[in-house]
Symmetry: C2
Subunit: 455 residues, 2 copies
């Protein structure tokens, strides 16, 4: 399998380029759909189309398409005819079909939905209407549920009769007459139980479940916490309406981690951009906060131009004071943001979080304050540029310590406050914290300088 | 279930504090082990001990202990007697037991292993010897494998006889006489197949597998890519030696994402620190790179003190030039690092990655260069501090654009080079890139100033 994969990746693009379609078809036949999907990343669109046509059946084409990166799939589908897309959609599970529809321009998606409605594919239509970042957006409606009075033997027979229609059936959900979720039996337990036993007597009744509107990050946390292979989705009346499987959860966890990292670094969460121009368009707005912050910093420093003119070496230490502050701020913000995302920190623990960040930054501030103060003192010991090397060292040392403490407070506080008012805390850690740290760092630096150096 | 959980979290700590142990025991009886484990985070150690004793059996205690955060479990186990730990270890799956042993001081772990050896628990001992960040460190050796000539009926019977001993058995691995992995049958296929069929005729022979020494991040990528519930682990001769299940993969994905984020923010990857002092000790070294970089920046700026004395406003724009550069550097480094981690970028694509980052930064640099240059020009249009407002604006605008292009190049290049020589690229994106950007940003800023402003 592994050797197949590397030979596929190396050989197929060459075969396609040289139009050796028969050789390519043979390779494609035995390859895993996920590997073929991966190849789309490195092929130009004309060769993607050739590769796609080599896939023997619409089933197989659909399997590959759902594994292709969304941004690439969007470009790929643009020139494909509606009839062909409809055939592909009909060969997908309903949740995958809804995801593909999401990629298309709104008008086109609605036309396709109209066509699906005519042929009665209502599940896809329903799923498309849900917010794609909720449990409903992740779930499939093609799950397996049986009444609680079914015997194990009948349950197994039912599975054998219908098993192929369902995406996965490692859990058998048990419902009452009203369709409400009352229990769960794993396929393993079903196989291990006497055939005459009824489901009610072997089912687990404490079923971890989520509601249709739950945020996908919370759904992922539940699946991770309880080590589940699938989680049932219920509506507000506890009626079972769908199931989210663990493979989709893994995608959510990876995607959310990527989004958080990019937000923290100040990049748009869409990095599927293929052209540098669209990448630039996505990244430029994120630099605006930093630009405004920088202009603000320039204005503030400009206000102290007379002080700088008197003690020019003050300028040399601006970057390290702001840089150390910025780093501490990002440390604190990252620890708090990631703690909130993984559930290690709770929005209610503001005092605990802030006091920890404060004490940690006081200790680090003391260490680096003494260090930087000494460096500045030694460097300007007998310089004509400052009146007293000792006081200059004290100014710089005290300023870096102050910047670090201020930064830790801002870095700890902002994501907690963001989370409390339901703004994504990851947004806080990037330019936002850095800019705040810059402004307060400059103010404290020059205030300390004005007092200690008497300028 | 959900309501149980929130009442548990609110009520149990109160009951424990007031020593209402009978009420607490009742709550604990019906609670999920993952929820009880979560409570350990907010309880002091004496109440953790009380809670642990309320768990009715060693099985249940073991189930809770494996779900507790590693740092908390380490502190909790310190005062526990060896005999009690041995009992707990014997009630865990071998991979969980090996993880718990990893938490203990080396000497103590070896004593416990000696005791386990006496009673013949060799699996745990073997697993403990493997590197914990490889496939072997994740796998359990308690998997279910049968010869290829077994009939489906016999396979089901074998499962019914032994199913309880295995952590999970949704896949049935098929081996030949030499113990080599030759196929896989899902429990679902087994149930759906006629009982007289032999495994060889229904098994999938293209089995995705990993070797014992494969890095856990690569194992996670395989499971995610192929949507697996478990992945078999083989030794160098293709002998099946273990299985990694998807719940452990989810933990790896979350943990690796957290580690990457923290490394990128310049924080040690161990944030399980409970005391601020140990947290400070963990974070202080990570600030050293930034400190050294800052001192370097101060020295460089110091070398241009004569220039600053002549044109004091140059000092005001140092933070924005370095700040915009730093932000662009972090954007590029994050996109490349995350792309490498998720497999979207390959270490071989250096030219493609660098040219994208270069073009993107040229566009952004043009935008913000013109913007900042205009701001500086307008601000210092008729200032006595500069000879020509236009030339001053040009200096600042050109400098910020240069810093952004330099930063994108460094931010794209460093993680790619790190990955090529097998250093974790996440380490590049933090202080390392920022420091490099500071140094080159200052040099280009003052070089441009010296030329354009003729100072």
């Amino acid at each position: 399998m592994l050797s197949t994969r590397s030979s596929l990746i190396q050989t197929l693009p060459k075969l396609l380029r040289r139009n050796h379609l028969e050789g390519a078809r043979k390779l494609v036949e035995t390859a895993h759909e996920a590997d073929i999907a991966l190849l789309f990343r490195q092929l130009p669109i004309t060769q993607q189309q050739k590769l796609f046509e080599l896939l023997a059946t619409p089933e197989r084409q659909a399997e590959v398409l759902v594994e292709v990166d969304p941004g690439i799939a969007r470009d790929f589908l643009e020139p494909v005819a509606d009839a062909a897309i409809l055939t592909l959609l009909r060969h997908m599970s309903d949740d995958d079909a809804a995801d593909i529809l999401e990629l298309l321009p709104e008008e086109r998606a609605e036309q396709l939905i109209k066509a699906l409605r005519k042929t009665g594919d209502n599940d896809v239509i329903e799923l498309f209407d849900y917010d794609s970042e909720t449990a409903a957006g992740l779930m499939t409606t093609e799950f397996f549920a049986l009444p609680e009075t079914t015997s194990c033997e009948d349950a197994l027979k039912a599975l054998q009769g219908h098993g192929d229609e369902f995406e996965i059936s490692y859990y058998l959900f048990v419902i009452n007459e009203a369709g409400h979720l009352v229990g769960v039996v794993s396929l393993r337990e079903l196989v291990l139980s006497p055939s005459t036993e009824i489901l009610r007597s072997i089912m687990e009744t404490e079923v971890v479940r989520v509601t249709v509107d739950m945020d996908q990050e919370d759904v992922a946390r539940m699946v991770a916490r309880y080590n589940l292979l699938a989680i049932p989705v219920v509506d507000s009346t506890n009626k079972l309406v769908g199931v989210v499987t663990v493979d989709d959860i893994i995608d959510v966890i990876r995607l959310e981690a990527t989004e958080d990292m990019l937000k923290m670094a100040g990049v748009s969460d869409n990095i599927d951009q293929r052209s540098p121009l669209s990448a630039a368009r996505a990244r430029i707005p994120w630099l605006l906060a930093s630009f405004v912050g920088g202009v603000l910093a320039a204005v503030l420093i400009g206000a102290y131009e007379a002080s700088i003119a008197k003690v020019v070496p003050l300028a040399a230490f601006i970057p390290i004071v702001l840089g150390m502050g910025g780093n501490v701020g990002i440390q604190s913000a990252t620890i708090v943001t990631r703690g909130l995302a993984t559930g290690r920190i709770d929005t209610q623990q503001l005092t605990r979080v802030l006091s920890t960040e404060l004490i940690v930054s006081l200790i680090s501030g003391l260490v680096y304050g003494v260090l930087l103060g000494s460096v500045a003192w030694i460097a300007y010991y007998d310089s004509v540029l400052v009146k007293s090397g000792l006081l200059f060292g004290a100014t710089v040392g005290l300023s870096v310590a102050a910047a670090m403490v201020i930064a830790a407070t801002i870095g700890g506080l902002v994501p907690m406050l963001f989370a409390r008012v339901n703004i994504d805390p990851a947004l806080a850690s990037g330019p936002f914290v850095t800019t705040a740290v810059d402004v307060f760092g400059i103010l404290s630096y020059f205030s300390i300088a004005v007092v200690l150096l008497n300028i």
